[in-house]
Point group: none
Chain length 132, copies 4
């Protein structure tokens, strides 16, 4: 099962609404089950550097089928996955990446959001992922 473009657009649309509702400007990326980009939107005035981060968050969430923040806890100094960010041409392991599941609970892609605090990034990513 793979996310469709129509679903990805719905994810981005809901994420944009949430972003506006909490007064932020976000880069929003959606990847499919193969971790390849399906849709992307950079809101006017959003940080340029968050473009790459949002895509890397979406890929990271699908690479390991979990929220990026969970990996970030394991990649700290002394933890089991220290510096895992060096793999896959660069992971981003702080919050803002969330897997997207279909009605059966199967992972069909992931969303990555960047442009504010990691808490806000995660809130917007969660809103987008829950649109499916």
């Amino acid at each position: 099962m793979n996310i469709t473009l129509e679903q990805a657009e719905k994810v981005i649309s809901v994420a944009k609404e949430k972003s506006k509702a909490i007064d932020t400007k976000m880069n929003i990326a959606v990847v499919d089950a193969g971790a390849n980009l399906v849709a992307f939107s950079r809101m006017d005035g959003a940080w340029l550097g968050s473009l790459d981060i949002s895509i890397k968050k979406a890929k990271t969430a699908r690479y390991f089928d979990m929220n990026t923040g969970i990996i970030g806890e394991l990649s700290q100094p002394g933890q089991p996955l220290f510096n895992i960010e060096h793999s896959n041409n660069g992971l981003i392991t702080f919050p803002g990446g969330v897997p997207i599941k279909n009605a059966n609970g199967e992972i069909i892609g992931a969303i990555g959001v960047s442009g504010s605090t990691v808490e806000n990034d995660h809130t917007v990513a969660e809103a987008g992922a829950s649109a499916i």
Copy 2:
């Protein structure tokens, strides 16, 4: 002058319609005046390898403010710009990248399309660019 997300979404929407009208499945990328991605859509079933090509076409069109196919004529063996594709982390110099201008004729971004023949790619890119 820089393209807005709303303008970029309109460009992609018109490009998608054109793509469907000629029975193709495209990757469509829009970059701003700084050659940074603003919006992207991969239609269901479109070639995965065209994802990167569409983004590189959009960047290439903005890097040199001309249709990508023009550069491709000049980069052939024996021509003045042979192997220019090695610059800028990889250019794509066949048709499918087109600058986007505002009402005053100023370049505000570019569109890149990939997923079919280069003729079809260019047709869809032209349709998208003309939406502004």
Copy 3:
């Protein structure tokens, strides 16, 4: 709004004067609003390795519209942006990168300075940025 070459040259000129005044040898880079290099100077005898660092500092400051040192505090182990440096082909998040604003307070580019202690790097970057 985008920085002009004349403005970028003034930024570098003032930064060089400051660098000499505090007896340092610097690499100084200025990027525009799109985070693309506009002007660069490496003072005689400045560290070679600081060439890339100065450019990455300038890009990083524009990517997130803040001084690089602020990001560096957030990217420490246990902090919210741990290992953000893996994004955007490599960020530099210690001091020495500063956004450049015009008279209206709009960010039109950024300066990155590297070649001495991070305190000195920041001092010279601040001097350069304040030239506009």
Copy 4:
């Protein structure tokens, strides 16, 4: 012997004058004897994609101590250096890169120019190199 920043600035200044005199907008890069960037200027309105090309031309000219166009003749299909552009993270082998020599004829650096036809690029590079 290595080019000084003062010399590099003179090279760029003369190249800019020449560029204006022939009504072009150029990216101009100067590298030292170690092929590392010393100074760079992007004239207002110059092609963004020429930024990387000008630096690669300067490096290429110093890597092989000859005008870049000479290498380009040897890198054509069937010629001895076919596709040499794949080395050194990307060479640019069409005209616009010229070694810079001191009064004793020793090579102390190189200039790379990009932003117009390769003939114009070379003309401006020659003018800059002859300033020393």
